[in-house]
Symmetry: C2
């Protein structure tokens, strides 16, 4: 595959679900070629901590390719010899300091005031993301997508597409995600992460300056998210307890070595993240409820015309499989066509990203029109 | 059963695992009568947020009895017509402000300085608790216990008894607990809770005054612990999402109704809790590793002489059943006698307390000498 270039899409004004209207700029990447009929496009949507860099490399020297590179490329499940694949950066992308991310959020300068939005930035939702992506798709002359697909928050966007723009897509692929963020997940890892950042005295209602950022709060928020994303066994092997080294010190402040090792691993990943973007993204994930605006979950899911494939992971602590099963049942009961493919991995939620080989084949078949 | 009275046990000095020596006072309760041979005593140990009030009522007007009242009483599994049952308050009991709790911890006045210990209080462990309970038992003239039993942190104490005082007990009952606190549990709900409290600017290294306490940090810590203690379904029914009411407000600060309802429920329980005691107890639970001081987990568990019964719950997110299974296998491989009885409840970890009826019969049989 050739190297990948970031592209930029702007809207002078976009009316968000919360009622506010703002100008929007987001980055996007494409892989493969749009055919003449413009009917071979697949939209891939990114998860919480990811970016629009879903596949390929920016330069041949890059250590790693994009996050779903195992699925996207020539001859792969999302075959770039056949499909034209797009992925956008989300609003309030948490990697706000990553030079390859183009996003609009609290760190953006509000053109009306000349100052950063900070927490005056309006709350965004994954329904907003679907709407913004729709504008991008139409600006490229595409009337209908072959598919919208994504893991976790990416799956939330795919479902918002399927419910709100039912006639604009043939297929919807929802990996390690669901119709509503479970209450436990919302409270334990998202509301708690927001609370942790706000608790940091450096938060200052989001008005912090560069270099004076609420790092401790953000670090705790990242810890919480990271911990839910994998599974028990992954932690035992990544940060093993060591009874020999973890003698009891009189000081309450002495963290055991395995906790220090984990904190260090989180610290190493922190550099591109921004606390205010994290708060907004956590809020968007916890507010994900496809029933919002409808009389019931049944009514919302009943609008879907696309074939749907839901792929949960058996060890997922954030979106346990029962929620995917429930959504599949509702869609089929309402006359839709939904399939369920459970993957068995010890990697918990992250299996939807790191174990993509486990569902590459059923995904490829599904995209070619076969129900799973 | 008659009403219950709190009793008090003191040691002028106790040398803790961390090496510090301090005077200790803890409360305890007893149910049933010690027989003449003093060989019918069962020690019950309390879990994280509980107290020595394991059974009965202080007054006939009390709304609720003690936390394992379903198991402890005349004719019940831990039959007070046969057994003399004891339960102590732990060091650093988190209900430090509960008038029925007698504990020694950071809020205690250090007799050497005339001021509260604060965070100069030495870190305690569940091995310390077993040692202090042993002194209490011996002060009552009891040479050997029929059994030591407890859920969660109570099970940690029971295992410390079995490993460190192997000839002082016949049976060990470990409910929703294990030989080592899992790394995921330690990091997500214990280290994160400690970090949350320390992040609160009112923490002041534990030197806060009454009325100036780090309530926000403690609240977040309680949320985290509460969230791990139950299961997905419990939260869906206790704090249901409501797409109709949770419209999207422009403000990032607007928590959805289900999050507010949950926070309010946590607030209602906060009154007796102290932040510094919470930090110390969280540290003790995360440092629970029965292998500490031995060459291996096998060596530690190989010391056990008591018959062991481990009772995990299938939906437990803090101590998933695989950890109990592993400990039982090791004990049996080392020539011990360990049984495994898994309970099936949707209540997660708390099933070990709220669903005691699910294991009352096997527990009763086990205490009468029958392997399960």
């Amino acid at each position: 595959m050739d190297t990948v270039k970031k592209q930029v899409f702007s809207l002078d004004s976009y009316r968000m679900e919360c009622g506010e209207t703002i100008p929007i700029t987001v980055g996007f990447e494409t892989y493969g070629e749009l055919n003449e009929k413009k009917n071979n496009a697949v939209l891939v949507c990114h998860f919480f901590s990811a970016t629009s860099h879903a596949a390929g490399k920016y330069s041949h020297d890059d250590a790693d390719p994009g996050w779903w590179d195992a699925l996207i490329g020539p001859g792969k499940a999302i075959d770039t010899d056949r499909y034209f694949v797009l992925c956008t950066d989300n609003l309030c992308n948490i990697q706000a300091k990553n030079p390859n991310v183009v996003t609009t959020g609290p760190r953006t300068v509000n053109p009306q005031t000349g100052e950063r939005y900070g927490t005056s930035f309006p709350a965004f939702t994954y329904r907003d993301m679907a709407g913004i992506q729709r504008e991008l798709i139409r600006s490229l002359g595409i009337e209908k997508l072959l598919a919208v697909a994504g893991p976790s928050a990416g799956g939330m966007q795919a479902l918002n597409w399927a419910v709100h723009y039912p006639d604009m897509m043939d297929a919807c692929v929802v990996v390690i995600s669901g119709a509503q963020t479970p209450v436990l997940t919302s409270l334990a890892y998202l509301q708690a992460a927001i609370d942790a950042i706000i608790l940091d005295p450096k938060w200052k209602d989001g008005t912090y300056d560069e270099g004076e950022e609420p790092e401790a709060g953000l670090h705790l928020a990242l810890q919480l998210m990271n911990l839910a994303a994998y599974q028990y066994g992954w932690y035992e092997s990544s940060f093993p307890r060591d009874a020999k080294r973890d003698v009891i010190s009189p000081s309450y402040q002495k963290n055991p070595e395995f906790a220090e090792a984990f904190k260090e691993a989180v610290s190493k990943r922190m550099q591109p993240y921004d606390a205010s973007h994290y708060v907004y993204t956590a809020r968007a994930v916890m507010m994900h409820d496809i029933a919002r605006g409808f009389d019931s979950l049944e009514e919302a899911l009943g609008r879907i015309q696309a074939r749907v494939l839901m792929i949960p992971c058996v060890s997922d602590l954030l979106f346990p499989p029962q929620y995917s099963k429930q959504a599949v049942d509702i869609i089929n009961r309402k006359g839709g066509r939904a399939s369920y493919y459970e993957i068995d991995s010890p990697n918990g939620h992250m299996a939807g990203v790191v174990d993509a080989h486990l569902f590459a084949e059923p995904l490829a078949s599904f995209l070619r029109g076969k129900d799973i």
